[in-house]
Symmetry: C3
Subunit: 218 residues, 3 copies
């Protein structure tokens, strides 16, 4: 039990570090100052988890209750700020870690939501939102349409993992080994999608659709 | 009592479906992929309600606690994704449903806030924020200044309805019939504003004002 | 005791008014309508505090529970809407008030977080986020990369004040006088940075860094 929760904490903090590095390097690309780089890294790493904790009424959220979380995010962002000229060579490593973080966050968040009494359907959504939420806020802060909404099988990999976790928990097959396998599944789907350039379908657009695209807007 | 809460649920879910369709069609117009369309639809339909539930400490929020809410939002978004070339002809219908959703969300949210012990002034604000919140987040996700901040009597219609609801509740005149009338009032004001091109006043700008517009920014 | 809490309320409401004026004048610069100006002013003044109250489980947040808060924000925004042609001459005053608001919000929010049992590290982060949060949401609503992430020692002044407050509270030296001094410290650092054009360091960019800036993005 003890070793499980240590493993979870290590996994969680690895995810935090990786997502902070992803946010920090996007902020460096926009020429933000050192504070901006750290802030975007912080939000990318912890924003999704803060929303999750508010939704399941775990207050104050871990990002404020446990100093290891913000300290990890800040350290990783600062590392990117100083080391970024060398990051190019690390591109594959970063992609791999990012996919690992996505898997870990999806699994731990879905489990936390189930533990808090959220029904399975909502817990899956929340697990996925936690996984993708940080990257989404990162892109909003940097003035871009979130890349997760435009490209690739990122969110879908996360949702798949969340559904597997909820299924395991309900069927009684849930344990450290099977949950780790679910995190691995997210990782493998994400990495495969990346290397095979899988993409979700886009809407067919015809001449009439462009003006119609805003019909529902108030 | 039973039939009232069924009526409320049906009204709520209708509002969810309509706002999801509005978000989804805006996302189609931006050429997001199928996941992006569903995500923007989901957030447009449920984002305002999630914020409201967090504010009144109804956790987990309905969007996660009752699967009917996300299922409705996702179905409506998928429908838009597949059907959008035909949506042009539905423009009037969509505007009408959107106004109906605004009325329903405003009334139910104001009532929920009052029930949770929020004072009347705050409950009106929260009712309006729930009504306009989804469209606001939708526009932020799509990289635009929220249209509700720029044009038309959209938020004002909602606020008016919320004030009427709070007045009814305080005076003891509140019941299913009068609350429905308040939702109708929002609907009628919104539709009239649309057809008569009513607009809220804009600031007068003179030569000196443009640089001054940012004086307060940090 | 009584007079302390009155002083805190007056300080808080002054901060609300000033931040609302800052949000409102930015919205005027973007030519939003009267509702948009009030809305952006409202969010700039109260958005950070709403997030803080959700995080420390003070529900409903003050912005909805105490009508003085929204009434102050709305009045200040309306004042900007009507008076903005004369605001140019007030630029220095506005900067000064904005810095005073930053100091007040930082100190009161850090104290509230500590009172709610948030550990010191998290309380400092939350105090700073409340101070800068309103301006951040204001810029997001107006479609800009938040200025606080790009320029000047704004957030750093706030963080410094929050750390001082946490240190005072822990060491037992905390009282109305020392907390006021902490707010003054934020004010002085912010104003000095403004007049001396201090800036936080930016990342060094070389030819290889630009494409690498997004390596971590999903």
């Amino acid at each position: 039990m003890e070793s499980t929760s240590v493993a979870l904490l290590v996994g969680d903090l690895t995810g935090v570090a990786v997502f902070a590095a992803s946010g920090g390097s996007a902020a460096v690309g926009k020429r933000l100052d050192i504070f901006g780089v750290v802030f975007v890294g912080f939000v990318a790493a912890l924003g999704g988890g803060i929303l999750r904790d508010l939704v399941i009424n775990q207050v104050p959220p871990l990002a404020f209750a446990n100093w290891l979380y913000p300290a990890t995010a800040i350290t990783a962002s600062l590392a990117v700020f100083w080391l970024h000229p060398h990051l190019d060579r690390l591109r594959r490593t970063v992609y791999g870690l990012d996919a690992a973080g996505l898997g870990l966050f999806t699994v731990t968040s879905t489990l936390k939501a189930l533990d808090a009494g959220v029904p399975a359907f909502g817990a899956c959504l929340l697990g996925m939102l936690t996984g993708i939420g940080g990257g989404l806020i990162r892109d909003l802060l940097l003035g871009e349409i979130p890349v997760v909404l435009r490209r690739e099988i990122y969110a879908v990999a996360s949702l798949l993992g969340a559904i597997v976790v909820a299924g395991l928990a309900r069927s009684g097959w849930g344990n450290a080994a099977t949950y780790t396998a679910a995190a691995l599944l997210v990782f493998v789907v994400r990495i495969t999608a990346l290397y095979r350039h899988w993409s979700a379908p886009r809407p067919r657009l015809n001449a009439g659709a462009t003006p119609g695209g805003r019909t529902g807007a108030p």
